[in-house]
Amino acid sequence: MEVGIPWSLWTPDNGEIVFNVLSGDATGKSLAPDLGASVYPVGLPDGNGYLMTQIVGADGASLRNPFHNRPHAHGGVVHRFRRTDKAIALEGLVVATKPEYRSELIDNLRNACLDILSPGIFGSPQEVFGRLFWQPVGSPVRFHKVHLSNMFDAVGPAATEGGSTQGIAGPKTYSFELTSEHPEALKWAGDETDIDGYGSGFVPNDGNTETWPVVQVYTSGPFTLFGPGPNGEPSGRSMRWGFGPDPRQNPPPIDGTYIEIDMFRQTMYWDGDGDSALAGLDMSNSDFFSITAGGGDVSTTGAASAVKVFSNTAWVG
């Protein structure tokens, strides 16, 4: 993965660590200014900052590649491959002009890492997560939602102030590892596609792999949501709600204004955090669907008055 591009690590309680800014102050260099977080380094003189030197694992999640030997014959049966979670190892230099600046830089980075040592599994109420941002050349900002998976470490020789002609006080090497539940990297600027009742809308995905949207269906009764096929076909998957064989859900009770459908986690909740609406889903004729690379159409029929599709363009790396 290219290291000489903007990188940053945002954490909920310790701001945004911005890498590859050695001016001592990363103000204005945030990759996600809309989060309003404090950026680091800040208030230090020129020659202080974090220099990223190596990133391993961010270009793409590892593959699960099962195969069997063909029985009593040469060759093998090679099955469908799937991606694992993404394990990202980051390494770089803490560059400082004075030992106390170096200590401050190390402390800030250590605290940021500790901030995302999550007490809960991905998706749990106890979860604490960070975001790893980067911006490839000529491309929008991308990110991974991450937890700390291997502890931060800073190693290197001690050094006094101004020990070199550049006034550098002995750089230390930092390293830590992050893990992302999703293998795909997402565009930070998300997309919202609004669809009217009995309407259709194109959900973009300008990346190179599938993305899993969150869909809000504003409804007062049974509806059908149509999505693209698993291989990019114009149509093929749908979700039928309120039409299933359960007589208590046909028609279903209306427990809110909209149903929020998380396609990746396969959940359906009224108003995002209310009662589950899964009971009304026709299991025999429904699929939670993704949007393949290139984008696809989403449409709706039935009692749904409006649909909002929240999605992010997705890349393998």
Binding site: P66, H79, R80, I121, P230, R248, M283
Partner: protein, 455 residues
């Protein structure tokens, strides 16, 4: 055959709770979660005439497992939750329900890093292990019924029985059960004169436990007596077909024991259909003399073309042999019946089985039983187990299922690598499926046996 298409699985978690008046059964089933995204090691075992078993592991700390549902219990809980398994060949199109069962046990375990929960489900036949056999008045031993007209028939030898007389053909004992509550069980017609034998008996026992469970004699119907089994299909599918006449008694036995006895006598086979209903019912049960169909074009071959199995094992044994049967009934009312096969005796020596069959009274029943047992036991037990090759072999559910006969071949050639060439129709008695986390559905083991062989 549906080869080379991906096979997808879906695990749906349902709450299963008592809600009087909301349904005919007083039970409600409602889907509350999806587990296929977090379930690993999914293992499904389907055996003829037995309760199907499903096991899988889930992370105990995931909200889809541990968050509290409306009843105050965690999403995954024991007894008041069920899991329905859906399956689809290909990645587009409708799903088919292939299994439904209650969560019967949970094992939570953790190490220094993670915690997980092993979930085990059984379909509703399992509850019949906890239901006693009852007579048509709902009585089991001791009989507390004081009305002589409703007491079980007692023998003339002065003993105090508590047996459950079930005679075939006798109109006095096979009268219509009288319903004492209105609703779906008010007309308790177990069958007409055309329905005899073990299928009749099993259906009757299940009807009676639904109606009378929880009392002796049975109380008026309550939903707590249900067992999540539907016995009559609205469209006449999964009917209860007549089987060979049989007369038998059950002495302080559970219905599951009775089913095991009756199916072991080869008088009946159970057909189980998993259905997507929301009134607590998970299976529709039927029975008949022989289920399944012949599918000779479904070929599983080991070490011979088309090489669709990766593993093979075969057991041939004299342990269960019998080529001389002398069976007598419980009362030995002056008759017994002998069946023997001279060809088998002259090849393997004589294997005698002289038995008093408790509970079988009629000569007709003894004769039929002796003939069946001789047919099944006159040859050495021959049990074959094969492991079909994923993505190369015919698919369970679509190409074959329990009870079907398929072609199994092994070692065909001038010098068979399997000691003896196997070639012919074998009946499928058990299917063990593992849904591997990476390549999906794998038939871990297929238990087959020659059509007339014991399993």
């Amino acid at each position: 055959m549906s080869l080379l298409l991906p096979v997808e699985y879906r695990l749906v978690l349902a709450a299963d709770f008592y809600s009087p008046g909301d349904t005919d059964t007083d039970w409600v089933t409602t889907n509350i979660g999806m587990l296929d995204g977090i379930a690993s090691g999914v293992d499904l075992q389907l055996i003829m005439n037995r309760s199907g078993q499903l096991t899988f592991d889930v992370p105990a700390e995931d909200p889809r497992v541990c968050a509290l549902w409306d009843d105050g219990d965690p999403m995954v809980s024991c007894g008041n939750r069920a899991v329905k398994v859906w399956r689809r060949v290909g990645d587009i199109g409708p799903w088919s329900l292939i299994y439904g069962g209650r969560i019967w046990s949970l094992e939570d375990s953790g190490d220094g890093d993670t915690v997980s929960t092993r979930v085990t489900c059984f379909d509703p036949l399992k509850i019949l292990e906890k239901r006693v056999c009852r007579d048509k008045h709902g009585c089991y031993f001791p009989n507390l019924e004081t009305d002589p007209a409703k007491q079980p028939v007692r023998p003339n030898d002065g003993s105090v029985p508590f047996y459950l007389p079930l005679a075939s053909g006798g109109s006095a004992l096979q009268a219509l059960d009288e319903g004492d509550w209105d609703g779906s069980y008010s007309s308790h017609d177990i069958g007409d004169s055309g329905e005899h034998g073990a299928s009749f008996i099993i259906k009757s026992l299940i009807y009676r436990t639904i109606k009378f469970a929880g009392g002796n004699p049975g109380l008026p119907f309550t939903g707590a007596g249900h067992c999540h089994i539907e016995l009559d299909a609205e469209d006449s599918s999964h009917i209860w077909a007549a089987t060979a006449p049989l007369e038998i008694e059950f002495d302080q036995q559970t219905i599951a024991q009775a089913i095991q006895t009756l199916t072991g006598m080869l008088n009946v086979e159970l057909s189980i259909e998993y259905i997507d209903k929301f009134d607590g019912v998970f299976i529709r049960l039927g029975g008949g003399p022989r289920l399944g169909s012949d599918k000779p074009d479904v070929i599983l071959a080991y070490a011979t073309e088309p090489n669709t199995t990766s593993a093979f094992s075969r057991t041939v044994s004299l342990d269960n042999m019998g080529n001389y049967f002398d069976l007598s009934g419980k009362k030995q009312a002056g008759y017994n019946h002998i069946e023997q096969d001279l060809t088998s005796q002259q090849k393997f020596l004589t294997f005698e089985q002289v038995e008093n069959i408790s509970g079988v009274e009629s000569k007709k029943g003894l004769t039929a039983l002796a003939k069946e047992r001789l047919a099944m036991q006159k040859d050495p037990r021959n049990l074959v187990s094969v492991v079909p090759m994923p993505d190369l072999s015919p698919l369970p559910f679509d190409d074959y299922y329990l009870g079907d006969t398929i072609t199994v071949e092994a070692g065909e050639g001038d010098y068979p690598v399997t000691r003896e060439v196997i070639e012919g129709l074998q009946r499928v008695y058990g299917i063990h499926i593992v849904v591997d986390d990476d390549y999906g559905e794998v038939v871990q083991e297929l238990i087959v046996s020659p059509q007339t062989g014991l399993v």
